[in-house]
Amino acid sequence: MKVLVPVKRVIDYNVKVRVKADQSGVDLANLKMSMNPFDEIAVEAAVKMKESGKATEVVIVSVGPAQALDTIRTALAMGGDRGILVKVEGPVEPLAVAKLLKAICDEEKPGLVLTGKQAIDSDANQTGQMLAALLGWGQGTFAHSLELSDGTIKVAREIDGGLQTVSLKLPAVVTTDLRLNQPRYASLPNIMKAKKKPVAEKSPGDLGVDVTPRCKVLKVAEPAKRAGGVKVKTVAELVDKLVEAGVVT
């Protein structure tokens, strides 16, 4: 079974985000960029399937600028077999990404698509679900654990009330949550080997998809700041303050 893993290049998890002074967006100039952490979990899950003989090939796909090639190489160093870069400058909305991925799935015919539940930049939490709908496939979002068997996959999902397990007919789309696994670090030899792995490049035009954004971002602003408060010295004083504020009675 072939596993397709879409990954996104995003601002590094640890970098403090700053809004541009003209409120046109977030300032990404010269900041460290990395693979979306949820996608790293998806890569790890796919590579584990290959290692256990359940997957035959792990194909990494990224939609993004030329530098998204670095993100693909990182995933290849973790154990992916080959990559596909769909080169697009500027923002691409989740629906457009889902359409691009659908076109790739039509060509590649994977048995499973594994990707992150959301990207930590746009926080949309849409792409996996949209891709599943466009393909007419089942979906297991927010995966906590996976169990592959012949023709089906069981996905335990992190839901608001606890865990829910669904069984999906393959092919299917699975999106990962935090607890699915701990992604590995790529070793230096694997990073070197990844440089030689094939990465095909495509354009949205090749795939017949119009990626022009349809929503208009009017403004990106800093969230309202909370004024830092006061330090209290004792538990009794803390309780005094809470009573004064009327939040406990």
Binding site: Q126, G161, L163, S167
Partner: protein, 317 residues
């Protein structure tokens, strides 16, 4: 011009998130209809009919919708989408699961987790884990929206909408419910509790989290946790507060042993009052806490419990 809100419920009780989504929906389009999809859920439809401002409740009562599986919800909603110019769902794990499928099939970009309706086509939503707020204008045509319910007040009750049974769709046969393992708690739900007591990695063990239980019980509070505490296995995933967990906005958020990573703050900074206890005076949580106490948790927690008991706090409620 009508908005459709998809109800959140467990087949028995209507979740408060629904009435909050109605508030947002009424700002986008009106009148508002509610779709209740479930199994043996007539009581939920009756409760939905009592939300003020709701004109009609559509009830799809069938085993297909017992768990609101995304694939089944997609075909059901698509079958009724034509007459609506806006479809909204709460941004719960259920709403986030099915609504993007509907948007994709309608070829409409979804606007996720709105926190404000600026005008019927323009919305505010948090991005970058809440470090920036995007104001986004949706294109003309149908609006497909998930709503961060902590940002909206629940619509009042007092309505008297009619309930209409609607035709159900066929089973797409893509997925099947296997089982569910839900946390059982006598305490209020995390997302609607007036007081939330959250613990972090600073608590050190699952055993120590029980120290918070006594205080939570006295105050009628819900217990939450930081990602670090959940990752460490102190509490299950559904207790996680933060950008990738639950967003909460109680009257009081009491953060105990939580350092205050950006991703955690994103899920609780809309709380009315934030109080924090942490032994590290430099912890980022103190930058946003209204009241901060630098103290050893294992001294402070029992002291807090005693102090609350001594003053009879919580017993008046």
């Amino acid at each position: 011009m009508t908005a459709l809100v998809i109800a959140e419920h467990d087949n028995k009780t209507l979740n408060d998130a629904t009435a909050k989504t109605v508030t947002a929906a009424a700002l986008v389009s009106s009148p508002v209809h509610i779709l209740v999809a479930g199994q043996d859920c007539a009581a939920v439809a009756d409760a939905a009919a009592k939300i003020a401002g709701v004109e009609k409740v559509l009830l799809a009562d069938d085993a297909l919708y017992a768990r609101m599986l995304a694939e089944n919800m997609e075909t059901l909603i698509l079958g009724h989408a034509d007459t609506y110019d806006a479809i909204l769902a709460p941004a719960t794990t259920t709403g986030k699961n099915y609504l993007p499928r509907v948007a994709a099939k309608l070829d409409v970009p979804q606007i996720s987790e709105i926190i404000a309706v600026v005008s019927p086509d323009t919305f505010e939503r948090p991005i970058y884990a809440g470090n920036a707020i995007e104001t986004v204008q949706a294109p003309p045509g149908k609006k497909i929206i998930t709503v961060r319910t902590t940002a909206f007040k629940a619509a009042a009750t007092g309505g008297n909408a009619r309930v209409e049974m609607i035709s159900t769709a066929t089973d797409p046969g893509l997925s099947r419910f296997v089982d569910e393992n839900l946390s059982k708690s006598e305490r209020p739900d995390l997302t609607s509790a007036k007081i939330v007591i959250s613990g972090g990695r600073g608590l050190g063990s699952a055993e120590n989290f029980k120290l918070l239980d006594q205080i939570a019980d006295r105050l009628g509070a819900a217990v939450g946790a930081s990602r670090a505490a959940v990752d460490a296995g102190y509490l299950p995933n559904d207790f996680q507060v933060g950008q990738t967990g639950k967003a909460v906005a109680p009257d009081l958020y009491l953060a105990i042993g939580i350092s205050g990573a950006i991703q955690h703050l994103a899920g609780m900074k809309d709380s009315r009052v934030i109080a924090a206890i942490n032994k590290d005076s430099e912890a980022p949580i103190f930058q946003i806490a209204d009241y901060g106490l630098v103290a050893d948790l294992f001294q402070a927690i029992p002291e807090l419990n005693d102090e609350i008991a001594k003053r009879g706090i919580g017993q008046k409620a």
